[in-house]
């Protein structure tokens, strides 16, 4: 085997069963390609077969009574400018799309690629997590549906089986008294910078009480994670500045960041409560029930 990225096969299947068959035939030597903006950066030398999802008709955003459905091969720029995702709590997803990488990368990169690359800092994954999205995964057998967060196993590793591919994201409809927010901390030298810490939050309020809340943290663990203790702090309680501060600090306690080229673990840990607090305040404002 050479040490270079030199796949010798390229397939563009026309349907999901063909794709699953190819994935199964080539096993670990196969790699799906959508936008290619992660694959052609890492260029894994073990890949011998590329399976392009371009002809699988997975490029769409639809809304019906059941919720919002997004095809896995929908590009990030389409999500960024989607009318369907331009209001209500769904803006958390278009906001995340708008600050991901650069315009040219967003024109190529897909939502499915961002999820399945399983980066702990994936922007779109966090937004989808707080919207309680599910993923439809197809393989040789029956397709299955799982919560978005169940896709992530470890750094750049998903729980998908060898013959499976992500097909569609489903975002359930949310009530009107919900606000959501996405905040990304990064170096500003280039807009391609991956998050030092990123946070998404979604708050469902009734008057000034928190009915339901989701907080997701990125770049502070081996995979994107919910800050469950921080969420528990808020549920059923009256929202005020003190409670939000306590919840934000609880989130910091749950994070397990590492040192890397972008920031130290200590810095990340200090930034978590600040970003969570800001995200929750945004959510409250957007719910329209902020009590000063």
């Amino acid at each position: 085997m050479t040490a270079f990225f030199r796949p010798s096969e390229y397939h563009r299947p026309n349907n999901l069963s063909e794709a699953a068959q190819l994935l199964s035939n080539f096993g670990k030597k196969a790699k799906l390609i959508a936008g290619g903006t992660d694959l052609l950066v890492t260029k894994p030398p073990e890949v011998e077969c590329l399976i392009d999802v371009a002809n699988l008709d997975l490029n769409y955003i639809r809304k019906d009574d059941d919720g919002i459905k997004i095809g896995a091969a929908t590009t990030v720029d389409v999500i960024e400018s989607s009318e369907i995702l331009s209001s209500g709590p769904y803006v958390v997803l278009s906001e995340a799309a708008g600050v991901m990488a650069t315009p040219a990368v967003r024109n190529m990169a897909t939502i499915g690629g961002n999820i399945c690359n399983a980066s702990p800092a994936a922007d779109l994954s966090l937004a989808l997590m707080v919207l309680d999205s599910t993923a439809k995964v197809a393989g040789q057998g029956e397709s299955r549906i799982l919560p978005i967060s169940d896709i992530f196993e470890d750094v750049n590793k998903t729980t998908l089986k060898e013959d499976e591919l992500l097909v569609e994201i489903h975002i359930p409809l949310v009530t009107r008294t919900t606000g959501a927010s996405f905040i990304k901390l990064r170096h500003h030298q280039t807009s391609v910078d991956i998050a030092i810490v990123n946070v998404a939050a979604r708050l469902t309020c009734s008057k000034d009480h928190c009915e339901d809340v989701r907080i997701a943290l990125g770049a502070v663990a081996k995979k994107p994670v919910y800050a469950k203790k921080a969420e528990k702090f808020l549920i059923g309680k009256r929202l005020d500045a003190e409670l939000i501060q306590e919840s934000a600090e609880a989130a910091a306690g749950e994070s397990k960041p590492i040192d890397d080229v972008r920031a130290s673990a200590g810095y990340r840990k200090k930034m978590v409560p600040i970003l969570v607090k800001r995200a929750l305040e945004d959510c409250v404002r957007r719910c329209g029930t902020w009590q000063k």
Binding site: L40, P103, A104
Partner: protein, 162 residues
């Protein structure tokens, strides 16, 4: 597996090629078609020097496999001029504002600018800055390029009204 057949249009000219699955669009443009205006910078999607337009959208040719562009219309810096002796308004404006120093980022910068203006003929300064945020220039800074794009936008709009 044999090479893959590829049908693409580059700057309005059709090409039929047989390419390896791992060849990038940048490789094909530069090494097979001799279109060396498009530059290889970082090779990892950070710098934007390799920006070309596919079906009117700016993309990075170093992160795109040639096989992914089958059936598509590609435009590079070489395809901007209608005639050899007449520069595109973007090129004119870059010259006028001296928005070029070493020139390595310029083809990518101009193609990214072209995509901005194709989708928004009257962009705000902020929209231009955001649109060029993926194109790094290590010589001049960015003010001159932004001014050049805004001027080119005015020139193109004016020409369309005449």
């Amino acid at each position: 597996m044999a090479k893959i057949n590829l049908n693409i249009s580059v700057n309005g000219r059709r090409y039929q090629l047989a390419v390896e699955p791992y060849e990038t669009l940048l490789d094909v443009l530069r090494n097979r078609l001799g279109l060396t205006g498009t530059k290889m910078g970082c090779g990892s999607g950070e710098c934007g020097a390799c920006t070309v337009n596919i079906n009117g959208w700016a993309i990075l040719s170093c992160l795109t496999l040639a096989v992914q562009t089958d059936g598509k219309e590609i435009q590079t810096i070489e395809g901007l001029q209608k005639r050899p002796d007449e520069l595109h308004p973007l090129q004119e404006a870059f010259v006028k504002h001296a928005a070029v120093q070493c020139g390595y980022c310029t083809p990518g910068m101009i193609m990214a600018s072209k995509a901005i203006l194709d989708h928004n003929p009257n962009p705000s300064e902020d929209a231009v800055r955001k649109g060029l945020s993926g194109n790094l220039c290590r010589c001049t800074g960015y003010d001159r390029q932004v001014k050049a794009v805004l001027e080119a936008a005015r020139t193109i709009r004016k020409a369309q009204h005449e």
